[in-house]
C-alpha cells in the first residue's frame, strides 16, 4: 500500500520548491508596498527575512549551548521523588 501523498519523497521535493518560491515572493513583495518604517534598520532590504532567519538560528544555537549544561534524562526527578 502506498503511503499518504504528503509523506512521499516526490511531494516533499515539490513542497520544498513551492516554499522557496514563496520565500522569494515575500522578499520581492517589499518593493510593491508602501513602507513607513519607525527605525532605519527596517529600511534595509529584506529586513524581516534575514533578521527572522538569524534570530532563529541564534535562538537554536543558544538553546543547544544551554542544553550542554542543563540537559538531563527525563527520568531525572522520578527516582528521588519516588523514594522521597
Amino acid at each position: 500500500m502506498q503511503d499518504h501523498w504528503l509523506a512521499r519523497d516526490s511531494s516533499i521535493r515539490l513542497l520544498w520548491r513551492g516554499f522557496i518560491v514563496v520565500l522569494a515572493l515575500t522578499v520581492l513583495a517589499e518593493f510593491f508596498v508602501s513602507q513607513h518604517p519607525h527605525f532605519r534598520v527596517e529600511s534595509v532590504p529584506g529586513f524581516g527575512a534575514w533578521y527572522g532567519f538569524l534570530a532563529c538560528a541564534g535562538l537554536i544555537l543558544f538553546a543547544k549551548g544551554l542544553a550542554m549544561f542543563l540537559k538531563r534524562p527525563d527520568t531525572y526527578y522520578e527516582k528521588g521523588e519516588r523514594d522521597g
Binding site: 503511503d3 499518504h4 504528503l6 509523506a7 516554499f19 514563496v22 520565500l23 515575500t26 522578499v27 513583495a29 517589499e30 510593491f32 508596498v33 508602501s34 513602507q35 513607513h36 518604517p37 519607525h38 527605525f39 534598520v41 527596517e42 529584506g46 529586513f47 524581516g48 527575512a49 534575514w50 533578521y51 527572522g52 532567519f53 534570530a55 532563529c56 538560528a57 541564534g58 535562538l59 537554536i60 543558544f62 538553546a63 543547544k64 544551554l66 542544553a67 542543563l70 540537559k71 538531563r72 534524562p73 527525563d74 531525572y76 526527578y77 528521588g80 521523588e81 522521597g84
Partner: protein, 561 residues
C-alpha cells in the same frame, strides 16, 4: 435587570457544585448553559458598580464592570463554555466541577471592584486549579499539584501582605493604578507576577500544567496567567520594569520550549512566552500597548486552548505525550491536525489569524515609542514563536516520522470544541472590529497594512526556513532541561535529607551517651541494692543489737550536750 443581582462568576461556581451531583443530560446542559448565561450577563451588564457593601469593616465592591473587566470576563466565559464542551466525555467526575470553581473565581477576580474581593477570588482560583491537576489521579500529578499549591500559596501570602500594607497606608480597598514607591506595592506586584509565570518562579507552570488530564490543561492554560495579566493591566500600567520582565519571559519560553520533548510542556513554556508579550505591552504602557496586551490576552486564551485541545486529543487517542513517541498522526487524525495547525498559525500571529491583529499592536507601540531594542527583541521573539510553537508542535506531533500509530479522531464533542475555537482564531483575524470594540481604549488601529503583512510574513517564513535547515539540531531526545524548580525539587530535599542524617547521627551519639550514663547509675544501684549488696543483705541479731546500743548511746550523749 438580572445583571444587577446575578454575579456571573458566582453562577459558574454554583454550577460547578451542581455538576458534581448531576449526571447524564442534565450535567451536560448545566455545563454548557452556565458559561453561556455568564457570558450573557457580562455582555448586557451596564458599566459601573453592581454590588457594593461592607465586609469585616472593609468597603467591598464584589461586582463592578468597566471595559477592561468586561473584556476579560467575556473571554473567560467563552473559554469556560468551550472547555466544558471539550471535557464532556471526561471520565473523572470531579474535574469539571473543579474547573468551574476555578473559572468562576477567575471571572470573579476580573469583576472584583476592590482588593479584598480580588484576594478572595485569587485564593479560590488557586484551590480550584490545584483540584483540576489533582483529579488527573496519577502520583506524578499529585506531587506536581503539591508543588503548584506551594508556589501559589507563596504568591497569595505576598499579595495578602501587600494588600494589608496598602489598606493600612491608604485606608482604601480600591483597586487602582499603583506606583512602586512603597514596600506594599512591591509585594502586590510580586504576588501578581508569581501567577503570571514571571521569573524567577516560572517553572511552576511547565512543571504542573502538563500533569493535568487531557482536558484539564485546556482550562489551566486560560485563567491563572491571564488573570495576572488583567491585574497588571489595572494596577501597574507603564511600569518600565515590566518591559524587561516580559522580555525575559518571552525568550525563556522560546529557549526551553525548543529543548522540550513533551508536547504539552512545549505548549506550557509557550504560555510563559506569550504572557511575556503581554507583560512587555503593559510595561510600555501607552494606550496602544495596553490595548495590545489586552487584545493579545483575549486571542491567546482562544488559540492556546485550541492548541491544547489538539494536544489533548492526541493524548486521549494515543496515551502518549512525548514527541519521540509521536509523529505522522495527520493520516488518521486530519481534523485534529488541521485544528492544531490553525492554533499554531494563530499563536505565530500569521496574517488572517487572531494572533496577528493583537500582537502587532504591541510591536506597533514599541515602534511608536522609539524603543528600538524592545522592538528588535519583539521581532526576534515573533520569529522564535513560529519556531518553538508554530512549527515545532504540529511538525513533531502530526508530521515528522511515521510513528506507526493510527489513532482515530476524538469523539464529537471534542471535535466540535476544536472547530469552534479554530473558527474563532480565523474569524477574529479577519473580522477584528468586534474584538477592537471590546478594548479598554477606543482605537482606529489598522493591522493590515502592506508593510506590516510583508515584514511579518518574511519574519515567519524565514523562521520556518531556519527550522527545516537546522532540523538535525532540533531532533528530540529523551531529556528534560533543568529549571529553577531544581532548587526546590533537588537541592532543598537534599539539604533536608542531609539535615535529617545529621540529626540522626547526633541522636545516636546522644543515645549512646545516655545509655552509658544509665548503665553506670544501674551499676551503682546494683552495688548498693543488689541481692548481695550492702543494703540488701540480711543482718545478724547480734549486729542489730550492737547498732541499736550504739544509737541509744549516741542519743544519750547528744541529750546531755
Amino acid at each position: 435587570m438580572a445583571s444587577a443581582f446575578l454575579h456571573p462568576g458566582l453562577l459558574v461556581v454554583v454550577a460547578g457544585f451542581a455538576l458534581a451531583l448531576l449526571g447524564g443530560r442534565a450535567r451536560a446542559a448545566v455545563a454548557l448553559l452556565a458559561p453561556l448565561a455568564a457570558l450573557y450577563l457580562i455582555l448586557v451588564a451596564p458599566t459601573g458598580v453592581a454590588w457594593s457593601g461592607s465586609w469585616l469593616g472593609f468597603e467591598v465592591k464584589p461586582l463592578a464592570y468597566d471595559p477592561l473587566s468586561r473584556m476579560f470576563g467575556v473571554v473567560f466565559a467563552i473559554m469556560a463554555f468551550a472547555g466544558a464542551l471539550f471535557a464532556l466525555n471526561q471520565k473523572s467526575r470531579l474535574e469539571l466541577p473543579a474547573a468551574f470553581v476555578y473559572a468562576g473565581s477567575a471571572i470573579g477576580a476580573v469583576l472584583a471592584g476592590d482588593l479584598v474581593t480580588l484576594f478572595v477570588c485569587w485564593e479560590l482560583m488557586a484551590v480550584g486549579s490545584t483540584l483540576v491537576i489533582w483529579t488527573a489521579g496519577s502520583v506524578t500529578a499529585y506531587r506536581a499539584s503539591l508543588r503548584y499549591m506551594a508556589i501559589h500559596l507563596l504568591g497569595g501570602v505576598l499579595l495578602f501582605a501587600g494588600i494589608a500594607g496598602h489598606v493600612a497606608a491608604t485606608g482604601s480597598t480600591g483597586f487602582d493604578r499603583m506606583a512602586l514607591e512603597s514596600p506594599a506595592h512591591w509585594l502586590i506586584l510580586a504576588g501578581f507576577l508569581v501567577n503570571a509565570g514571571a521569573p524567577p518562579l516560572s517553572a511552576w507552570l511547565p512543571d504542573a500544567y502538563p500533569e493535568a488530564s487531557w482536558s484539564g490543561m485546556v482550562f489551566l492554560s486560560a485563567f491563572t496567567t491571564k488573570t495576572a495579566v488583567y491585574v497588571l493591566l489595572r494596577g501597574f500600567p507603564g511600569t518600565e520594569l515590566l518591559i524587561w520582565v516580559g522580555l525575559i519571559m518571552v525568550f525563556y519560553g522560546i529557549v526551553y520550549a525548543l529543548l522540550e520533548n513533551d508536547m504539552r510542556r512545549i505548549l506550557a513554556y509557550s504560555i510563559v512566552n506569550q504572557v511575556g508579550f503581554m507583560v512587555v505591552g503593559i510595561g510600555i504602557g501607552t494606550e496602544m500597548a495596553l490595548n495590545g496586551a489586552a487584545a493579545h490576552a483575549f486571542t491567546h486564551i482562544i488559540y492556546k486552548a485550541l492548541l491544547l485541545m489538539s494536544a489533548g486529543s492526541v493524548l486521549y487517542a494515543t496515551q502518549r505525550r512525548k514527541c519521540t513517541d509521536l509523529g505522522g498522526l495527520f493520516r488518521t487524525m486530519p481534523l485534529t491536525a488541521v485544528c492544531g495547525t490553525i492554533g499554531a498559525l494563530a499563536i505565530s500571529s500569521f496574517p488572517l489569524t487572531s494572533g496577528f491583529v493583537s500582537k502587532s499592536m504591541i510591536s506597533q507601540a514599541a515602534g511608536d515609542e522609539h524603543l528600538l531594542w524592545v522592538w528588535l527583541a519583539l521581532a526576534a521573539a515573533t520569529a522564535g514563536v513560529f519556531l518553538h510553537a508554530g512549527i515545532k508542535f504540529p511538525w513533531f506531533v502530526f508530521f515528522q516520522k511515521d510513528s506507526g500509530l493510527r489513532p482515530d479522531e476524538p469523539p464529537l464533542n471534542m471535535r466540535l470544541a476544536m472547530l469552534l475555537f479554530a473558527a474563532l482564531c480565523i474569524g477574529l483575524g479577519i473580522f477584528y472590529q468586534p474584538l477592537y470594540a471590546l478594548l479598554p481604549f477606543s482605537t482606529d488601529y489598522v493591522p493590515y497594512t502592506g508593510s506590516h503583512v510583508v515584514v511579518q510574513l518574511e519574519l515567519l517564513l524565514f523562521s520556518g526556513l531556519a527550522f527545516f535547515v537546522m532540523l538535525p539540531m532540533l531532533q528530540r531526545t529523551l531529556t528534560i532541561t533543568l529549571d529553577v524548580d531544581w532548587f526546590y525539587r533537588r537541592i532543598a530535599p537534599a539539604l533536608v535529607g542531609a539535615g535529617a542524617l545529621a540529626l540522626r547521627a547526633m541522636g545516636e551519639t546522644l543515645g549512646a551517651a545516655r545509655d552509658g550514663g544509665v548503665r553506670r547509675i544501674e551499676a551503682a544501684a546494683h552495688a548498693l541494692h543488689g541481692p548481695q549488696a550492702i543494703l540488701a543483705r540480711t543482718w545478724t541479731t547480734g549486729g542489730m543489737a550492737m547498732w541499736a546500743a550504739l544509737l541509744l548511746g549516741a542519743y544519750l550523749v547528744v541529750f546531755y550536750l
